[in-house]
Amino acid sequence: MSLQQAKPPLPSNDKRWKLVNATMRRNGYAGHALIETLHSVQDAFGFLDEGSLRFVATSLDLPLSKVFGVATFYHLFMLKPRGRHACVVCTGTACYIKGAGALVERLQERYDIDPGDTTEDDRLSLLTARCVGACGLAPAVVVDGDVLGKLDSETLIAELEELA
């Protein structure tokens, strides 16, 4: 007797679900494709909400708690949407030696948020990274994907203020 679970319908007509589904199909809906699939959900939607986690769990036939456990283990996965802009301060050793700690502190103070949080107006998320690998540019900050190097906090804040 086959107890195979039927694949669930896509959660909505949003085309992005097809991308997610394609990742799972490419991996034969195997349970070990969970992390790959979560990456594709986050690439498509920017974060992982409960609905998408449930969809992935049912599609890959994995327990809900296991999926949630994996999603919360890896720090790259976000369970909340990010702000319109993201400022990632590298806290690798080279950047730390060159003052990344002070950068983070100054940003916390200026925007009243902790690393990992987003300002109330959803404008800016402050994040930290374990070495973005731009040690030659220490201290390095990634603002919306662009690496800014050898920064002091006032220049950085001026850059951030310019963002819409």
């Binding site: 195997a30 349970g31 070990h32 494709a33 969970l34 992390i35 790959e36 979560l38 990456h39 296991k66 456990g69 994996v70 283990f73 890896y74 720090h75 790259l76 996965f77 806290t91 690798g92 050793t93 080279a94 730390y96 030696i97 060159k98 990274a129 374990r130 070495c131 973005v132 690998g133 731009a134 040690c135 030659g136 540019l137 220490a138 390095a140 690496v147 190097g149």
Partner: protein, 536 residues
């Protein structure tokens, strides 16, 4: 396919562009990209136009001196970096001048001397093509002799021959532990079972280390070639590259390389018309340092929480999905092709008694020349820091160099003359690690450095075993008290005791080595700790 066929193919690729005599090479690895290499590349292409058909702008991998990026070198078609004219801190506005100088003397205002010790003292094996070939070009790799080692292995050597060469080379794992590579390969090869796996560990997580990223961004095919040779030697038909998602450029280049190698028949089914097949798949990490530990890495490939499990059984016996698995790091695989090409004995002639070959280091921190270097094992720390690295800038004095990342330690001035290899670093209470070297000047507080690394281990602890999960937290709390001059001598004694317990009882390497930065700074800079004692 045999070596002659491949040589013919390489000749074809070299001859494909007969008019080109000189190349304007722009570093397009991540660090130079961060300093604006892409606009420089575009400006050079635009400036060159169709005016000089004998010259060509080419994107290449890392040239090493990252702090001076964007780097551009002008070289003869088959020329190396040392023989080239190197320009530093190039801006798009400089493109016109560089192009204009192609017919005349070099542009002195941007020139960066290549006879400087930074370049002259290096010996490149792993990075032999970095900064010379286009990492996105399969043909470019074959043209410089790429995949010859694989074809040689497949057409002229038995798996046992390959194992013999790798063993003879004395190569040790470049990921940190320094386990003999030949022994590891032979163990997996001897394991019974039809299904075996090769895994390339590209989860370079040590803060301040970017060797593997640079290798993958500069010369991805070389890593694939090493993996394919390993798979042939141990009898695997499936391989994974586990790579950090934080390295999008490296991921992209690796994907391109896999696709092109497969299309050309150097990966996939029946490689080089032999019975040997290998599928290579990329698996992305998701921000967990602990996944650099091999059992955690395998859990992550299996789609699980990246938590280590007790060893034994080792991956060689029971790895991915319970099958024998070979895990090596990027740099280890990058050493394989030259070992097959030149022979294990040749490789063993480089380096020290127990550490053979070269090692790639990422130099960072308060040092004049920040970047990527490759030196023979046994080069002294003083050479690396003062000569190659150019010493401490700003008239400050050297205090310590940190090696081995969060698992390593700090080496003070009095030990700078030590010859760097796996064993010498261990005697100093630190380790080779993956090759990050962070230089600190007199303004760095060593208690603060220890606290920084403990904070790292605390947040990166997977939470599975008690000593690491809660011990790192308690040690961090004491270090924090110390840094704030609120700790007592009883706190310091407790810190040392916790170091011992966490080191001896933690489940995996992360916890077992988490106390190292504390222990090593206590060993060499105890006075700084004692000066911080307060709190009555």
């Amino acid at each position: 396919m045999n070596l002659d066929d491949l040589a013919e193919l390489a000749e074809q690729f070299r001859a494909a562009d007969p008019v080109v005599e000189r190349e304007v090479r722009v570093c397009v690895a991540a660090s130079c990209q961060s300093s604006g290499a892409s606009p420089v590349f575009d400006a050079l292409v635009a400036s060159l136009g169709d005016g000089k058909p004998a010259c060509k702008v080419k994107g290449v991998g890392c040239m090493g001196l990252c702090s001076a990026g964007p780097l551009v070198s002008v070289a003869d078609k088959d020329g190396d970096l040392e023989g080239s004219v190197l320009y530093r801190d190039v801006a798009p506005e400089d493109a016109e001048d560089i192009v204009a100088s192609l017919d005349g003397p070099p542009l002195e205002r941007l020139r960066c001397a290549t006879d400087h010790p930074f370049f002259a003292r290096q010996q490149k094996i792993v990075l032999e093509h970095a900064g010379i070939i286009d990492p996105n070009s399969f043909k470019g790799y074959v043209a410089v002799g790429g995949y010859a080692a694989l074809i040689q292995a497949l057409s002229e050597m038995t798996p046992t021959d390959v194992l013999r060469e790798v063993t003879a080379s004395g190569l040790r794992g470049r990921g940190g532990g320094g386990y003999p590579t030949g022994l590891k390969w032979s163990t997996v090869a001897k394991m019974p079972g039809a299904q075996k796996y090769v895994i390339c560990n590209a989860d370079e997580g040590d803060p301040g280390a970017f060797m593997d990223r640079a290798i993958l961004e500069s010369d991805p095919h070389r890593v694939l070639e090493g993996m394919a040779i390993a798979a042939y030697a141990i009898g695997a038909s499936k391989a994974y590259v586990y790579i950090r998602a934080e390295y999008p450029l490296a991921v992209e280049r690796l994907q391109t390389a896999i696709r092109k190698a497969k299309r050309a028949g150097f990966l996939g089914n029946k490689i080089g018309d032999t019975q040997f097949s290998l599928e290579v798949e990329i698996r992305l990490g998701a921000g967990a340092f602990v996944c650099g530990e091999e059992t955690a890495l395998m859990a992550s490939i299996e789609g699980l929480r990246g938590q280590p499990r007790p060893r034994p059984p080792y991956p060689a016996e029971s790895g991915l999905w319970g099958h024998p698995t070979l895990i090596n790091n990027v740099e280890t695989f990058a050493n394989i092709a030259p070992i097959i090409r030149e022979g294990g004995e040749w490789f063993a002639s480089i380096g020290t008694e127990n550490s053979k070959g070269t090692k790639v280091f990422a130099l960072a921190g308060t040092i004049a020349n920040t970047g990527l270097i490759e030196v023979p094992m046994g080069t002294s720390l003083r050479d690396i820091i003062e000569s190659i690295g150019g010493g401490i800038p700003g008239g400050k004095s050297f205090k310590a160099v940190q090696t081995g990342g969060p698992s390593g330690g700090c080496i003070p001035e009095q030990h700078l003359d030590i010859a760097v290899d796996y064993d010498s670093l261990k005697t100093l209470g630190t380790m080779m690690g993956s090759g990050g070297m962070i230089v600190m000047d007199e303004s760095s507080c060593m208690v603060d450095v220890a606290r920084y690394f403990m904070e790292f281990c605390m947040t990166e602890s997977c939470g599975k075993c008690i000593p690491c999960r809660t011990g790192t937290q308690q040690m961090h709390a004491i270090l924090d008290k110390l840094a704030k001059a609120q700790a007592t001598s009883a706190d310091l004694a407790l810190l040392e005791e916790l170091c011992e317990v966490v080191q001896s009882t933690s489940l995996c390497g992360l916890g077992q080595t988490a106390p190292n930065p504390v222990l090593s700074t206590l060993r060499y800079f105890r006075d700084e700790y004692e000066m911080k004692l307060g709190g009555g």
